[in-house]
């Protein structure tokens, strides 16, 4: 439900890498002018070690190795970039061609690339150089060609993954030609991973070309690059290491710059990149002056949930659930309804920090470091997607009885007996057999009923059901909702039912909480919701916008224009004001608080006070 935090492109890694690359390029341009003469100047001072005059010493002909290393930057960089360009251009073109062609050619092409990739690229390059003869041109071609298959494979694979997306099939349906499809729809959407590969290919080419020159197959005298200098310097390594270490350091630093650029790009391109790790949700306790409600089973007071950057996703939410009550929590995506419930169950995703004045289920205090075993037995959870909440590789029996065995120390046989009983109660057919089956052998509705049975197994006082029927068909939804209701009326288990569907909420619940933009905006008895007696303009608009089987159909549905504000852009006043037909100046400046509207009802809206004023003045 929560949107991923915005990705940061300019990480320190990327900045350092780009700075390094920029320095290299500048050096490649200016070095031959500055050090060109010195690099070729023959002197009598042969085989000198490092000194103030000759930082990297001198070679057998008395030439300054530092100057030569600087001058060699240009040839090294040009050949490495050349090889990278050959690899990228050739590989992407090959990959795209394979993707564009028919299924048979595609299959053949992919297998061919698999074969090519399984050969080490340096060996391939050596063969090419052996055939074409040594020289910088042939080594660039060789290394470039050897790296082509990696680009080709990435391009075809990425293109195939993008091609399955709706906007590509729509463009096809519109008659967009394959080439244009590739240029406008595919390539722009796969550019990031390809860029990462480009920077990796640069590093690899640099190493491979230096290797070839080192072996005497690359740059031929009188021209020289870092690999060649390294090879010359290596002759006197034990007596005079500087002429070898200088060029070696240059190769390492240039490779590092390329690597840093690659890492930086990859981190920015990868939506699953590690985010700042949150502490294990220890709920911060804050002080408020709200009256305690000891008779309530669940008490939530002043609950807020923050992102690590301080953005509040849920703000100051307070509510209670009485024993045996079904409370609905309704709101749109991004309203914070799931986060509120998950904070109560202490199951917030990493990186989110909750704080609350009161957070209690029965006599279990959930602020601070609560007992995990007790939390797991007192609160049962039913998730939205039953196929994702069971482990597909394990039989149902073990998964259903896990909480019972781990947290309550019940023996396996007894646990199984109780699980079968529960499955029967949740109207799962053939319960004994289901225990031995894997989750995929059950239908979606059956799995969700098994989930409910599992949630009830530890005898919890509260079940949190988070959109339990959203993924299900309407006939199956009805059965699952009935099983939930049976658990409530049979065991007196209280239920917090989260849904975006007002119709489901009003069919199931005793009391309804409405959330908008991270806050509770209204609380009302279900009878008022069914009768259309909601007080908050948002609740009223939501009800009016919901299509029904009985309402009028000949006029358009009253839509709510605009959209809820993003968490970071929530206004200081009422968050609904920009979409609200009643909004006045006060709404934009001042945040309304929840005020009692009647028995069991409360709403956060300034307009309620205005209508009271108007009513008062007319009397």
């Amino acid at each position: 439900m929560t949107r991923p935090t915005p990705r940061r492109l300019w990480t320190p890694t990327l900045i350092a890498g780009l700075a390094g690359m920029a320095a290299l390029i500048v050096l490649a341009v200016v070095a031959p002018w500055i050090w060109g003469d010195r690099a070729d100047q023959l002197t009598q001072q042969v085989h000198r070690s490092a000194s103030g005059d000759h930082w990297f010493g001198t070679d057998a002909l008395g030439r300054d190795v530092f100057a030569r290393t600087m001058v060699a930057t240009r040839l090294t960089l040009v050949t490495s970039l050349g090889a990278t360009a050959v690899a990228a251009a050739g590989g992407i073109a090959l990959g795209a061609a394979i993707w564009v062609s028919g299924p048979r050619v595609r299959e053949l092409g992919q297998r061919l690339i698999d074969v090519l990739i399984s050969y080490p690229s340096v060996i391939f390059a050596l063969v090419v150089v052996a055939v074409l003869g040594p020289g910088p041109g042939t080594s660039v071609a060789a290394i470039g060609l050897a790296s082509c298959p990696a680009f080709a494979r990435l391009t075809t694979n990425l293109a195939a993954s993008i091609a399955g997306r709706d906007f590509v099939s729509t463009a096809r349906l519109l008659g967009v030609s394959p080439l244009r499809l590739l240029r406008r729809h595919i390539l722009p959407n796969i550019a990031e991973p390809l860029l990462v590969l480009v920077s990796v290919a640069f590093t690899v080419s640099l190493k491979a070309l230096s290797g070839l020159s080192f072996l005497g197959l690359g740059a031929q005298p009188p021209s020289y690059d870092w690999g060649r200098l390294l090879s010359t310097g290596l002759e006197g390594l034990y007596t005079n290491p500087a002429p070898a270490l200088g060029p070696a350091a240059a190769i390492v630093l240039a490779g590092l710059a390329g690597g840093l650029v690659g890492d930086g790009l990859a981190a920015a391109a990868n939506p699953a990149a590690p985010r700042p790790r949150g502490r294990r949700a220890k709920i911060e306790s804050v002080l408020t002056s709200r009256a305690p409600a000891p008779e309530a089973l669940v008490e939530v007071g002043g609950l807020s949930v923050r992102r690590a950057d301080g953005t509040r996703l849920v703000e100051d939410v307070s509510f209670q659930i009485r024993p045996g009550e079904i409370v609905g929590l309704v709101g749109e995506s991004g309203s914070g309804k799931s986060l509120t419930a998950m904070a109560l169950a202490r199951l917030l995703p990493e990186g989110l920090e909750p704080e609350a004045a009161t957070l209690r289920v029965d006599d279990l205090d959930l602020t601070g470091a609560a007992d995990r075993a007790r939390t797991a037995t007192e609160i049962g959870i039913v998730y939205q997607d039953p196929s994702a909440s069971f482990n597909p590789t394990l039989r149902l029996g073990g998964q259903l009885t896990e909480a019972l065995r781990v947290h309550q120390g019940v023996r396996r046989g007894e646990a199984n007996r109780r699980a079968i009983q529960r499955l029967k109660a949740a109207r799962v057919s053939l319960p004994e057999r289901r225990m031995r089956q894997h989750p995929h052998e059950l239908s979606g509705g059956m799995r969700q009923r098994a989930m409910i049975a599992s949630a009830l197994l530890t005898g919890p006082r509260l079940i949190i059901a988070d959109e339990p029927t959203t993924a299900l068909d309407v006939t199956v939804q009805a059965e699952v909702l009935r099983s939930l209701q049976a658990a409530n009326s049979g065991e007196g288990t209280a239920i917090l039912l989260i849904s975006h569907d007002v119709a489901v909420i009003s069919s199931m619940c005793d009391r309804v909480l409405v959330m908008y933009a991270g806050r509770l905006v209204e609380e009302l008895p279900v009878a008022d919701l069914r009768a259309g007696n909601a007080r908050h303009p948002y609740t009223r608009a939501l009800l009016a916008a919901t299509p029904t089987l009985h309402g009028p159909v000949d006029e358009p549905l009253p839509a709510i224009h605009g959209r809820p504000p993003q968490p970071a852009e929530r206004p200081s006043g009422c968050a609904f004001a920009p979409r609200c037909p009643l909004a006045r100046e006060q709404c934009r400046e001042e945040r309304p608080v929840l005020l009692k509207t009647g028995p069991g009802g409360a709403a956060a809206c300034h307009a309620l006070a205005w209508s009271a004023e108007t009513a008062g003045s007319t009397q």
Binding site: T170, L174, R482, S489, L557
Partner: protein, 253 residues
């Protein structure tokens, strides 16, 4: 009755050993909206795919305006996909996406600015929307862009496949309203696929109910919701939560 725009005749689709559609016959006259309802696996999306030519039928015919559908006729049928977050290219502005639909070979926004503005107007979006990227829009607004893109080619038939199921209630209404007003203004012919009966009731003139690959009921909207004939249709209607308590015995608790 006028000649139907779409006529599906005894269509059978088989995937491996699975008979996905069995002898499905449906007619859709010009200017009408047919709702296609059914549960997951009933074959409604397969029927849509067969009509746009993405699925090859085992037997039967699909006639568009009296002729067998051919790859050339593809542009005459347009599909509005389900997920507005996946159906727009994130790297293209709304204007570029619409210009491409107007002219798939060389569509540039500059050449087609006027037409793009018209299309945006049809779905009640401002002409300035053309210069923005999909990420700047809400789900409902994106879905309206997808509708505008389908309209760009002046298709004979529009297939709307679960167009509101990924949307929140408050924005679902705006998309349904746009479809309703377009149907009235342009006399669109539309095949509207949905699992949500309340939504179908707000958009369609006729409703066909698919159950395990067969059409079990095909009738006018009024009849279907007032006097459903088939047992399965009745089960579907009874299952829809309508705000009344689910189990009778809960009210007296």
């Amino acid at each position: 009755m006028t000649e139907p725009i779409l006529s599906v005749q005894r269509l059978n689709v088989v995937f491996g050993r699975q008979h996905v559609l069995r002898d499905v016959s449906v007619d859709l006259p010009a200017g009408r909206t047919l709702g296609l309802v059914g549960e997951s696996g009933s074959g409604k999306s397969t029927l849509a795919k067969a009509v746009v030519g993405l699925v090859r039928p085992a037997s039967g015919r699909i006639l568009l305006d009296g002729h067998d559908v051919s790859p050339k006729a593809r542009r005459r049928v347009q599909m509005i996909p389900q997920d507005p977050y996946a159906s727009l290219n994130p790297r293209m502005t709304v204007g570029q996406a619409l210009a491409e639909a107007v002219d798939p070979r060389r569509g540039s926004v500059r050449e087609h600015r006027q037409r793009v503005g018209e299309l945006l107007g049809m779905v009640a979006l401002d002409a300035s929307a053309a210069d923005r990227y999909p990420s700047e829009f809400s789900g409902g607004q994106r879905q309206r862009v997808a509708i505008a893109r389908a309209l760009a080619v002046k298709p004979d038939l529009i297939i709307a496949d679960e167009v509101t199921s990924a949307l929140d209630t408050s924005v679902q209404a705006e998309v349904l309203n746009v479809l309703r007003s377009l149907r009235a203004e342009l006399s669109l012919t539309m095949l509207f696929i949905s699992h949500d009966l309340a939504v179908v009731r707000h958009v369609c003139d006729r409703v066909a109910v698919l159950y395990r690959g067969e059409i079990v009921e095909n009738t006018s909207r009024e009849r279907l919701f007032a006097r459903p004939e088939h047992d399965y249709t009745r089960l579907l209607l009874d299952s829809v939560p309508d705000g009344r308590p689910f189990v009778a015995d809960r009210t007296d608790r």
